[in-house]
Symmetry: C2
Subunit: 224 residues, 2 copies
DNA sequence: CTAGGATTCAAACAGTCGTTTGAATCACTC
DNA sequence: GAGTGATTCAAACGACTGTTTGAATCCTAG
């Protein structure tokens, strides 16, 4: 008994899936890194698919639980009045960023993994939908409460933009450098307020201003 | 001679890479779909890696060319004065969205592929960096010109947020439904103005307001 | 018509993949 | 200490991977 074979597989799989992606990581690589026998992964998990699901669930359920708890707390503190836009954003964004800053290794691994699975095959994507779909719905509804005058169509798109900005930042924030030579951007305590301020401004802009047509009707040709 | 073997391989590869990802698509699947011999891909391209690079380059160079041309046109029209934030956004965003609406099949394929490669292995990611890094730098500098008072750190992050919102929208806009049952969001002519308005508001918000600490110092515990 | 380079083809190479098997070993109860 | 179920192990299964080979075929210039 290798001192928690099941957990060692999970840890190694998380790290390797994050580094190389799901399809590109073989079970032999995982079991070798974990120091366990190849057949152990089929004994403890039934297949590679289930292993991935468990890897995701371990972290995602934790992050989502924190999100809901923060939102509930803000709702109690608001005593019936609608929760501020800023607080909804914070409840949604803070847990993941907090994990990233407090446990950099685990956090980076997890966010890298989310970014990958988000884009990989159908199976990883379906797992993501299952794990994160409900929580997005909750926050979408909370945002509608906080912005009652925003048309539903605009709200849906803006929620979409928010998720994109968040996911991209979590995925690439650490290693991407916009301005070459300036070094990679740092995920420090200033990032979360910046992101919240950016997004809240976007959510609050009048939807009418969005219906002006872009200035250039003529656009350059694309060859098919 | 199969009426353009080289091009048929490129087309099939683009479609299959977009649908299943790079690592999960075998050369046999590609050549079978293209109706050509397996060895043809090594004859016309030297390896699977080069094939991917060519697939990306064909579309990316077109989109990036259009971006630069639009930016140049707006600069000429501004006659020396700084280009509006809205116009910079439009020059950056419009070409991809235009491709998506004008050639839905090709556009969807390409944006799906970008989304995937963005997150897949190291090789796809390096190709993406090579193809899109320079263009991001150009627009980053244009944004700095348009917002001279915005600190460089804030600008870099906001550029990051912008790219995230764009990429996520291109990748998932067509099939994601935030509110279950309401049907998928539609990429119509209203989307681009909405995205531009959302992002411009975020870019214009005073950076000072971003330095207020989030309200909740205490955060729930994550187990490592 | 023919020589010769460009292209296509079936076949094989040397691996790796996820999964299964059946025996060996462990921990623990009676 | 024997028996029992949980766990680990080496080995193999059949299928699939990117790449290479060398002969067959096509197209075109002389």
């Amino acid at each position: 008994m290798g001192a928690g074979t099941k957990k060692r597989i999970l840890d190694a799989a998380e790290r390797l899936f994050a580094d190389r992606g799901y399809a590109s990581t073989s079970l032999r690589t995982i079991t070798k890194a974990a120091g366990v026998n190849l057949a152990a992964v089929h004994y403890h998990y039934h297949s590679k698919d289930v292993l991935l699901d468990q890897v995701i669930d371990r972290r995602a359920s934790e992050v989502n639980r924190m999100r809901l708890e923060m939102l509930d707390r803000f709702r109690r503190e608001a005593r019936g009045r609608p929760v501020t836009l800023e607080k909804i954003m914070e409840a949604f964004l803070a847990p993941a960023f907090h994990m990233l800053r407090t446990y950099p290794k685990i956090g980076q691994r997890f966010t890298r993994l989310m970014g990958r699975l988000h884009a990989e095959g159908d199976l990883p994507h379906q797992i993501m939908r299952r794990r994160f779909g409900p929580i997005v719905k909750v926050f979408h509804d909370a945002l509608q409460e906080s912005l009652p005058k925003l048309p539903p169509g605009d709200l849906a798109w803006r929620t979409h933009f928010m998720i994109g900005a968040m996911a991209h930042t979590l995925r690439w924030g650490q290693q991407m450098e916009i301005t070459p030579g300036a070094g990679p951007l740092l995920i420090d305590e200033g990032l979360l307020p910046r992101l919240i301020a950016f997004l809240c401004a976007g959510f609050r802009v009048a939807p009418e201003s969005a219906h002006r047509r872009p200035s250039s009707q003529k656009i350059l040709k694309v060859k098919p």
